[in-house]
Symmetry: C2
Subunit: 267 residues, 2 copies
Amino acid sequence: MDNRPIGLFDSGVGGLTVVKQVMKVLPHEETIYFGDTARVPYGAKTKETVTKFSEQIIRFLLTKDVKAIIIACNTASSNSYDELIRVFPDIPIFEVITAGVESCISATKNKRVGIIGTYATVRSAAYERGIKQRVPDMRVFTKACPLFVPLAEEGWTDNDIARLTAETYLDELLKNNVDTIVLGCTHYPLLKRCISGVVGESVTLVDPAKATAMKMKKFLEQNDMLNGGEEEKHTFYVSDHTPSFDFLCERLLKKKYTAEKTDIEKY
Amino acid sequence: MDNRPIGLFDSGVGGLTVVKQVMKVLPHEETIYFGDTARVPYGAKTKETVTKFSEQIIRFLLTKDVKAIIIACNTASSNSYDELIRVFPDIPIFEVITAGVESCISATKNKRVGIIGTYATVRSAAYERGIKQRVPDMRVFTKACPLFVPLAEEGWTDNDIARLTAETYLDELLKNNVDTIVLGCTHYPLLKRCISGVVGESVTLVDPAKATAMKMKKFLEQNDMLNGGEEEKHTFYVSDHTPSFDFLCERLLKKKYTAEKTDIEKY
């Protein structure tokens, strides 16, 4: 048994969709979340900058004595994972791409899948690489949807503007006859109903968060690292106190949590 | 005469609309621009964070021996100006709010004006304060338009989504019968045609950039600080190399410039 907390981080508050799944799948685990609300979003920034920010955050999480880390952000997962495991070899680090890759391979019937995410995630080609390594003849179509994050943060998740934006972004994927779309950004599950309305019921939407939480559970079980306690404890840190944290916390976790501010540039 | 450069900065690339006006109004001045593309946008962040970032940028600009600084960002102008002139008393600092306030007072006929900007700019109430101090019976209506920045950065400045978003945001101001609207974010001039189409020709749109450049000209003239040279020299720095800089540079300045990357967190 290992009663230390699991660390999770995201560019901002989208990663709370992953916290939610960890709470469900691993209800006895303590979690520590860091949201980089002072520098959000990462999606239009370069690999170098995203990696530097992620390294600072992992150094911060290590001061909290975490036993494992989930990169609850597709942009950081797809751009920085390889570098992060090199820089921090002593802590198990999980990313959200692999779970998304495996889930979409299981879901598709016609072997034509779509990946939507930020510019940086799409540019990294991490999903295509992961899918092609496992199923070389799979057809993968990608589309960056940069407006989805600000729409989700504005709370415009199901109005005409969200629908028109989704239609504009997803038209190409639909023309390519995909039967599965990976929500390759932790914010996008907030727009799931709107996206589903646009693509129709015949297209499966894959959210990598749940599968990532399942992967963590398996790892902790196999290594005898599950938390032996019964107490629920969840701690949240941010780099800036913005209203988006409270808004999403209530909406996703159905509970008020207070986030503590930390000066991440020091790490 | 003073041949040192003028420093300008913004959260990202929106401030290039101010650089453009300075180039027009003061064609012989050398300029140094810093765009905080690694931490953009500032508009949903707190006063404390925006002020900290602005202080780092001014410390960087001072290493370039600038003779004066323009805060080419409404969010930093409205949230951080008072603190910045306290921390840096030896360098003349100009902001964009005062020029916007004066221009809108000149433009309105019915004394009913609208201010649009980021959440942080609207929350600061800097425009209302400035207007009410000069014309106490003016009616000021404000509206935060957070989707306008990502729309401008996506290049969606005149499509159905931009129009529907503008209609949604501006409806309230129009119902309040304003005859003047201040574009209180340096990105918004990029959406001017779309906004104008929504509000109609009877509403005057005020862009504070030109009036700010005129203020700088007057200051340099009065203090015998104009540049005596003839050579055009414009230098650009960013905190991250993102495509938005090249895109807006070409669109606004009609010329290719190369931006140098600097690690702003060190300052």
